[in-house]
């Protein structure tokens, strides 16, 4: 049951955020929407074209590839990133000597400037003097596999490199969320053989519901906005095999000067995220109200 009246205190609490939000976020969204209805590659020489940009998107093979890649990235994030960061948070929530060091270790990559992340991982993946291939040859597996150059593996290689950085944030969100679970419940859920694992699944995870909403929403939206790591590792190549929505939007807008078309891609991204996140949030919010 939604409340009928908004109380005045609420308005006061919401006001500063709303004002800033309207000017910084809402205004650009409408500007983008407006821009996406035009075509033209100059400055101020645009012609109105209605939804033509949007229909053209679905005939654009590079757009479709980017869309597919972004979806793949999103699904992988949901499974892999969520799972791994939760695992780490649970382990690092227990007290043991050196815990602080490990907490630092797994968060540290999140702090490293993206350009350094890209360079480091480019070297790790390098076919001849890269870390992975050198390690493999130390074990007798001789491979000149070019991880980033094969269209099949390029996107995945970027994904795993991105995880190095991406784990940190959800991990600390889960760590924070685990603090809301009382000690005795946590103790009971400690990994203690198969029985405890079951308890973990049926008790701890539901108690982390709110944190899951945060982590999953953030990861899904983040997945669609992935940009820097792709540009740094493969520049969308080879032959656009690792192109994602954000990088394609960037090329269209800033490199080809198709401002309207680029804006259409951006609006599509927002719509896509809205379609996925809004039902998810509404669903969990409804459950929340029923408690």
């Amino acid at each position: 049951m939604e409340n009928k009246r908004t109380e005045s205190a609420a308005i006061l609490f919401l006001l500063p955020a709303t004002v800033i939000y309207l000017s910084v976020i809402v205004f650009p969204v409408f500007y983008s929407l407006y821009l996406s209805l035009f075509t033209g590659s100059g400055i101020n020489n645009w012609t109105f074209c209605g939804v033509q940009n949007y229909t053209a998107l679905f005939k654009d093979s590079i757009f479709l590839t980017s869309f597919g890649n972004s979806v793949i990235w999103m699904v992988l994030s949901l499974i892999f990133t969520t799972g791994l960061s939760l695992l780490l948070a649970v382990i690092l929530n227990r007290s043991f000597p050196g815990r602080t060091f490990f907490r630092g270790l797994f968060y540290l990559p999140a702090v490293v400037a993206l350009i350094a992340v890209a360079i480091t991982w480019r070297w790790i993946y390098h076919p001849t003097f890269g870390f992975i291939n050198q390690l493999l040859s130390a074990f007798g597996v001789k491979t000149g596999q070019a991880w980033l150059s094969q269209p099949q593996s390029a996107l995945l290689a970027c994904f795993f490199a991105a995880q190095w950085q991406a784990i940190g944030q959800p991990m600390i969100l889960f760590l924070a969320g685990l603090q809301t679970i009382p000690n005795d419940v946590m103790e009971a859920a400690v990994i203690d053989g198969a029985g405890s694992f079951r308890r973990f699944i049926s008790i701890t995870i539901p108690l982390l519901r709110n944190t899951f909403v945060v982590v999953i929403s953030t990861l899904m939206m983040g997945a669609l906005k992935v940009f820097d790591i792709i540009i740094g590792l493969t520049d969308g190549g080879p032959n656009n095999a690792s192109q994602v929505l954000a990088s394609y939007m960037y090329s269209q807008t800033f490199e080809y000067n198709h401002w309207g078309y680029g804006a259409a891609i951006a609006c599509f991204m927002v719509l896509l995220m809205a379609f996925i996140v809004i039902p998810y949030v509404s669903f969990t919010a409804r459950n929340q109200e029923d408690r």
């Binding site: 939604e2 409340n3 009928k4 009246r5 205190a9 609420a10 609490f13 919401l14 955020a17 939000y21 910084v24 976020i25 205004f27 650009p28 500007y31 983008s32 791994l84 382990i91 929530n93 043991f96 602080t100 490990f102 990559p109 999140a110 702090v111 490293v112 400037a113 993206l114 350009i115 350094a116 992340v117 360079i119 480091t120 070297w123 790790i124 870390f131 944030q169 969100l173 924070a176 969320g177 685990l178 603090q179 809301t180 009382p182 000690n183 419940v185 946590m186 053989g193 944190t211 909403v213 945060v214 929403s217 953030t218 939007m249 991204m269 927002v270 809205a274 809004i278 949030v281 509404s282």
Partner: protein
């Protein structure tokens, strides 16, 4: 409190941790190894993942001299120290309203605030530039704060809302009985209980602001006001990158954020949980 752990369970857990740690350390190791190499070391056939025989402190020196890292770090620190607390306050207030006060369409409003995270930042560059030009806000930290706060709202509200929802309504009732008004409920009860969330956001927000490049690049054109990412890019030349200097700069710039992290991660300690009963 009994801690009943079976041997295999513990060993498995620590084994996994160790394995992951090794994987996670490898790239860091490369970063450090690169930061201490001179340019000559790169061409001498030394493996990319090996340490050179002499440590090139000159790279770190260069970060401060040619990279002007100290200046950029100071600027970034000013921006972070002002923006982060302000942002957190506004986000907490909005989340409080959405979870604790009577708000019509509270879920709809929350979703409205979520759109900010859906927007790729590049989209906002031109409209913001147009407005800033008219309002003369280029090269002002005020302009930068305003935009940063705006972009941070969605995530902050998301986190606080999630956390506030875990705080049982009984606490509110108890507070009202004690004579608290809405505002006091916020400051004396809810906020203190949300320390883990605040700590998370302090860390995340500080980091996001510290490494933020896109908006800073467009809004701040005056070199004296620029931030850390700009300083690091000094080492990316037109025809080649000074890897040693770059990595040295990156390592230095990590330090303040990690300090913030270590200071606030102590709030991620089971012990706060005792105060909250399910």
């Amino acid at each position: 409190m009994k801690k009943k752990l079976s041997r295999p369970g513990t060993w498995l857990m620590y084994g996994v941790l160790l394995l992951l740690s090794l994987i996670w350390i490898a790239p860091l190791f490369t970063l450090i190894a690169t930061a201490v190499k001179t340019k000559k070391d790169f061409f001498s056939g030394l493996g990319l993942f090996q340490f050179p025989s002499t440590i090139a402190w000159s790279n770190f020196q260069a970060a401060f001299t040619t990279g002007h890292l100290l200046r950029y770090m100071r600027n970034d620190l000013i921006i972070c120290c002002m923006k982060v607390p302000l942002g957190i306050l506004l986000e907490a207030m909005a989340a409080f309203a959405l979870t604790r006060l009577r708000v019509r369409h509270r879920t709809g409003l929350f979703i409205f605030f979520l759109v900010g995270m859906m927007l790729p930042m590049q989209v906002a560059l031109v409209p913001i530039s147009v407005v800033f030009n008219k309002l003369n806000l280029f090269n002002t930290y005020f302009g930068l704060f305003y935009v940063y706060v705006g972009f941070g709202l969605s995530f902050g509200i998301l986190v606080f809302r999630g956390f506030f929802q875990s705080i049982p309504k009984e606490m509110d009732e108890a507070a009202y009985i004690d004579g608290c008004n809405k505002f006091q409920l916020f400051t004396r009860v809810i906020l203190p209980l949300a320390k883990p969330a605040t700590a998370t956001l302090l860390i995340s927000d500080f980091l996001a602001t510290w490494n933020e490049f896109l908006l800073a690049n467009v809004i701040i054109t005056n070199d004296g006001l620029k931030t850390v990412p700009t300083g690091i890019l000094t080492f990316v030349g037109q025809h080649g990158t000074d890897y040693g200097g770059l990595c040295a700069g990156v390592l230095i710039s990590i330090v303040p954020v990690m300090i913030v992290y270590f200071v606030f991660q102590k709030y991620f300690v089971a012990g706060m949980a005792g105060a909250i009963k399910q």
